[in-house]
């Protein structure tokens, strides 16, 4: 009797997981596997029955394409710079927001705002603000006497890269801040009492007590942000379309342009597979660090 109830009960559990399994198979597993398959085929989207096997041709193509390597380098520079800035600004902001001040929760709440604003909206407003002739940024810089000539923010290669990095930092620094702030709030105050007795300076207290406590969350945040930032598409594409020329191409834009503009979906997919390999390497690091498997066993 008891055993019967258990079996019937487990059936309900399986019934409950079924929709997830189905949705995951159709909309997550299948597309990823298909992306891997596509990487080994010549695919003409205009002729769906005309796929034929390409072996490693698509990979040979991307590895010998200078634009691929340029996109890779751009993605690395873009990601590296963004992450360093996000971490430095994010941690300083978290320390600032950790202060016990009147009204601080208002500022903490406000911080989430960039995260909810659609990237399209940010890209549009930034294009308007960074407009070389009538944009407010050039006007303000000239007014302050910092520049005498208009800066062409989005149409000179170096400045375009800087502009996309600024957008990325503006939008995602709050992510770092929120995570660090949450961790700061759990640091036991007793740790600081001893230091206060010893008369340690603020800087020393930060380096000796706060920073080691933050180490773990920082590693997790940095791994996560690196993976996501490296694969970002919209933040660059909507602001510069990868331009001027190809100067702000990253791998996601390279893959998109190969698939859409050049109709080489196999090449686009091969780029995707390359990105996924990097991603899985990152995820393995993350899982090792986080070790959620040990706690997760109920």
């Amino acid at each position: 009797m008891q055993a019967d109830w258990k079996v019937a009960d487990n059936r309900l559990g399986i019934l409950f997981i079924l929709p997830f399994v189905l949705a995951a198979l159709v909309f997550m597993v299948y597309p990823v596997l298909d992306a891997v398959r596509m990487a080994f085929f010549y695919i003409d989207p205009l002729n769906p029955t005309g796929d034929h096997f390409a072996g490693f041709d698509n990979f040979r193509f991307i590895f010998s394409d200078p634009l691929f390597w340029k996109s890779f380098k751009n993605a690395a520079v873009w990601t590296g710079t963004s992450i360093v800035l996000q971490t430095l600004i994010g941690v300083s902001l978290a320390l600032l927001l950790h202060l016990q001040l009147r009204g601080i929760s208002f500022f903490r709440g406000l911080l989430l705002f960039p995260y909810i604003v659609p990237t399209v909206v940010i890209a549009l407003t930034w294009q308007w603000m960074l407009n070389p002739e009538v944009g407010i940024v050039n006007y303000a810089l000239k007014r302050a006497g910092l520049i005498s000539e208009n800066i062409y923010w989005l149409s000179t290669p170096g400045m375009a890269m800087i502009s996309t990095i600024m957008l990325n930092v503006w939008k995602y620094t709050p992510f770092v801040t929120i995570c660090v702030l949450a961790r700061l709030q759990t640091i036991p105050l007793e740790l600081y009492d001893a230091a206060a007795v010893d008369g340690a300076s603020l800087v020393r207290r930060f380096l000796d007590i706060t920073l080691p406590q933050l180490a773990e969350v920082l590693v997790v945040v940095i791994v996560f942000r690196t993976i996501w930032t490296f694969n970002k598409f919209e933040e660059i594409y909507l602001l510069t379309r990868g331009g001027p020329g190809t100067s702000t191409f990253n791998l996601a834009i390279y893959s998109f342009e190969q698939s859409i503009a050049n109709l080489k979906m196999g090449v686009g997919a091969a780029t995707g597979v390359f990105m996924m390999c990097l991603l899985f390497a990152g995820s393995v690091i993350y899982i090792r660090l986080f070790r959620f498997d040990e706690e997760s066993t109920p």
């Binding site: 997981i17 597309p31 990823v32 601080i104 500022f107 705002f113 549009l124």
Partner: protein
């Protein structure tokens, strides 16, 4: 004496400095949106006026009127221009499309992942421990990898250019992180109440609807908000899946305002403001839950 004064002064100055820094940062965070709002309220003659003013000299709602009533812009202004494809005409249908697809995909993701999270944390069967790993991996996979294979799936299902393709497309992004968040949340819910009710003879389904769902509500709301934000803000899927102009989601449609000789910045900024409004409302209503969601580590970004 001197040091005492210094100490007291430091106590006053430090909060003042902190507030100054906080105000500066708030300004940096808010300025793009304030500037967009200001631009959207200016008549086109004032757009490039120097010096630029934050408060427009003459305020006008004409840009909003064009978007909402769908006025045909530049009608007959140039030959070969087809009035039927004038972007502002479609603004309201794009807005509605975005509401439908983000609502639809959120509903699906939430129902599916709530059931699954309950199942994974309360029942024992082989493979259940893989679900959270799988979700984590799933939500690390960038959209750019999923979008073309999914496009092929939609073609085969005959769904391209229909809103369903976007609903399902967004499920592929939102489902893994809803699952991850709700799994973490359900794992933290105490079992005692549920067990007591089961022992008292309540059925599993009753326990699920009357005890589990209400206590999981904060987690469900947080997951729903994140899912709404992600699908409302997406550009890539809409760009790849949709063809006909009236079927586009807002994000893709608005980018069409750039096509043509003359970019109407007033109109663009008005669209930017209107596009942000639903998210801003959601943001203000649900701030508490958002922070909870960030705490649970469920952020796609």
């Amino acid at each position: 004496m001197n040091s005492q004064f210094g100490h007291a002064a430091l106590k006053v100055i430090k909060p003042a400095l902190a507030y100054a820094a906080l105000l500066l940062i708030s300004y940096i965070i808010c300025f793009p949106l304030i500037w967009a709002l200001s631009t959207s309220l200016k008549p086109s003659s004032e757009l490039s006026a120097m010096p630029p003013r934050i408060i427009p000299q003459t305020m006008t709602l004409v840009n909003y009127k064009h978007l909402i009533t769908g006025k045909q812009q530049y009608f007959g202004a140039s030959q070969g221009y087809q009035p039927s494809s004038a972007p502002p005409q479609h603004f309201m249908s794009w807005f509605l499309n975005s509401c439908i697809v983000s609502g639809g995909s959120t509903l699906i993701s939430i129902v599916v992942s709530t059931l699954a999270a309950y199942s994974v944390t309360r029942f024992r069967y082989p493979g259940r421990r893989l679900v959270p790993y799988f979700s984590l991996l799933g939500y690390m996979v960038p959209s750019i990898i999923l979008v073309f294979p999914l496009f092929m799936v939609m073609t085969r299902l005959g769904l391209t250019d229909s809103l369903w393709s976007l609903v399902f497309g967004y499920v592929s992004i939102t489902l893994p992180f809803c699952m991850w968040l709700l799994w973490a949340f359900f794992r933290g819910l105490p079992l005692e109440l549920e067990e007591a009710a089961l022992i008292d003879g309540a059925s599993r389904l009753r326990v699920f609807f009357e005890i589990v769902i209400p206590s999981a509500m904060p987690g469900i709301i947080a997951a729903a908000i994140f899912s709404l934000i992600v699908s409302w803000n997406d550009f890539l899927f809409g760009r790849v899946f949709m063809n006909s102009i009236e079927q586009l989601p807002l994000t893709v449609g608005v980018m069409l305002f750039f096509e043509g000789v003359h970019v109407d910045w007033g109109l663009l900024m008005a669209s930017a403001v209107l596009m942000t409004v639903p998210m801003a409302i959601l943001f203000m209503l649900m701030q508490r839950h958002l922070v909870a969601g960030f705490g649970a580590g469920a952020v796609k970004g």
